[in-house]
Amino acid sequence: MPADSFIHRMDPRAKILGVIFLLTGIFMVKTLLMFFFWFIILFSLTLFSKISLSVILRSAKPVIILVLFTVFIHIFFTKGQILYSLGFITITLEGIQMGIHMGLRLLLLVLYASLLTLTTSPMELADGLEKLFTPFKKVGFPAHELAMMMTIALRFIPTLLDETDRIMKAQLARGADLDRGSILKRLKAFIPVLVPLFVIVFQRAEDLALAMESRCYKGGRGRTRMNPLHWSKGDTLAFTATVFMVFLIMYIDRSLVLI
């Protein structure tokens, strides 16, 4: 999302590490009150990042079904103190509690992750990940290659969507029937779209490889960056604050559980 705020300008490494800490924090929490706190923190961070709240909330839309599914699975299949039972369906107190906790966890997970992706460009994200994984290069982990693959994949998503649209239209014009009949029939109807698409993907990959090689691309070794990442004081501050917040909330949570 094009906007300018402190969160947008943060070093992607600080953001990625921060989010990882936040997510572990979210998975440790066991009381409703603390979940509520995590939501308050999310909303204030959103406000701070100048992204409208509705954009963040909309990003949770695709996973809503998954969340509900998880909630119901927990409600119906957790053993414990029986509240209500009908035939083979039993609802337990523990089930409801677990269901709500799991649902909230998943929701928070998605929302925090989308806060990260909405304030960080894919390029920055890939750069950040590459830098973070650099220490593992010693044990043979291909950090640069993975980051490059991620960047390329993200770059080609819109292009491939365009191509798919074009091929679909070309087959529709030849009388293909893509949206009628049983699932099996529809899958079969998609073969005339998928085959040309694969051909195009391989062609593009070949072209890209050739273009990269003709500009002397040889992988990550000795490669300099156009925009080197810069870890500023603000990043240290924000990261420390995040870690502190996670431990604080976990501490309060533990004490609440013990009471």
Binding site: R166, I167, K169, A170, Q171, L172, A173, R174, G175, A176, D177, I191, P192, V193, L194, V195, P196, V199, I200
Partner: protein
């Protein structure tokens, strides 16, 4: 029988910040069995217009009627329209998917529910029309040359026996021989009564083969009429990105000096007119 376009408007990404008008009020009637070329610069809306002709896109305002059936109507009628109006996309060889040329060309007739006993004839006829011999039937389309692939793709559209054939930049990437072969193929389809609608950025190509030309710019029709009218109008108006052939510029220039030369891109016609004028002067 004709395709009628009335006050056609179309907007991409409607209702988003990326909104951009592609067509802004096009009026056009395309008669059956005429060769119309639609000429415009990149982004002028010509490909968008092409996709309206067989209901792949539906107007946001206005109407497109194909032989009296509106493309904005029920979806069950859309297939009918698509059968009548064949559309050959730009780089149609990218749509190939079958294992043999026969299967590829049979795809459209099978989709339109042709009887099995007629299928073989249909395929042979389409291959023949596209200038491919029967020996191609069992070959793998992916192993053909670029020009042959394009012929297969065009045959696969012809096999549905459309009343109108719309082609979006069909000569892109072909060498001059491939281009001439394709144009003569289209001319013979035209002779047999098929309406040809050629979409191109190449004004010279359009001038050389069509009966009528529509020049569009920014989604609006700016010139419509015969080759002579288009050359005449372009003598006084500029259309963004349109390259006027050198020979047409010569004709325009001579006429501005009061010489009576034809508005054509045929070098012989113009040369003859010049020679005649010079001879007449010598005699007087």
């Amino acid at each position: 029988m004709s395709i009628e376009i009335r006050d056609l408007h179309f907007v991409y990404h409607r209702g988003t910040p990326l909104e951009s008008a592609a067509l802004a009020g096009i009026d056009l009637v395309i008669n059956k069995a005429e060769w119309l070329s639609i000429v415009g610069h990149t982004g002028s809306g010509k490909s968008t217009l092409a996709q309206h002709l067989n209901a792949l896109l539906v107007p946001h305002q206005g109407q497109v009627l194909v032989d009296g059936i509106s493309t904005s109507g029920e979806s069950s009628k859309l297939r009918n329209i698509r059968q009548k109006v064949g559309l050959v996309f730009q780089y149609p060889e990218q749509q190939l998917f079958a294992e043999t040329v026969y299967d590829e060309v049979a795809f459209a007739p099978l989709n339109w529910g042709i009887k099995a006993e007629n299928l073989e004839d249909r395929v042979s006829e389409a291959l023949n029309a596209a200038g491919l011999g029967p020996e191609f039937k069992n070959r793998n389309p992916f192993q053909l040359s670029g020009g042959e692939k394009r012929r297969v793709a065009i045959a696969s559209v012809l096999a549905a026996r459309p009343s109108y054939l719309v082609l979006d930049e069909p000569t892109a990437g072909l060498d001059s021989r491939g281009k001439n072969d394709l144009l003569s193929l289209l001319a013979s389809m035209r002779e047999e009564g098929m309406g040809i609608i050629l979409i191109t950025h190449d004004l010279e190509l359009a001038l050389s083969c069509s009966e009528r030309i529509l020049v569009i710019e920014n989604g609006k029709a700016v010139i419509s009429g015969s080759s002579e009218k288009v050359i005449y109008t372009l003598g006084s108006t500029m259309v963004n990105g349109l390259i006027v052939p050198e020979i047409a510029k010569v004709a325009q220039g001579l006429r501005n000096c009061g010489w009576d030369v034809p508005l054509s891109i045929d070098e012989t016609d113009i040369a003859e007119a010049i020679v005649k004028r010079v001879r007449d002067r010598e005699i007087s």
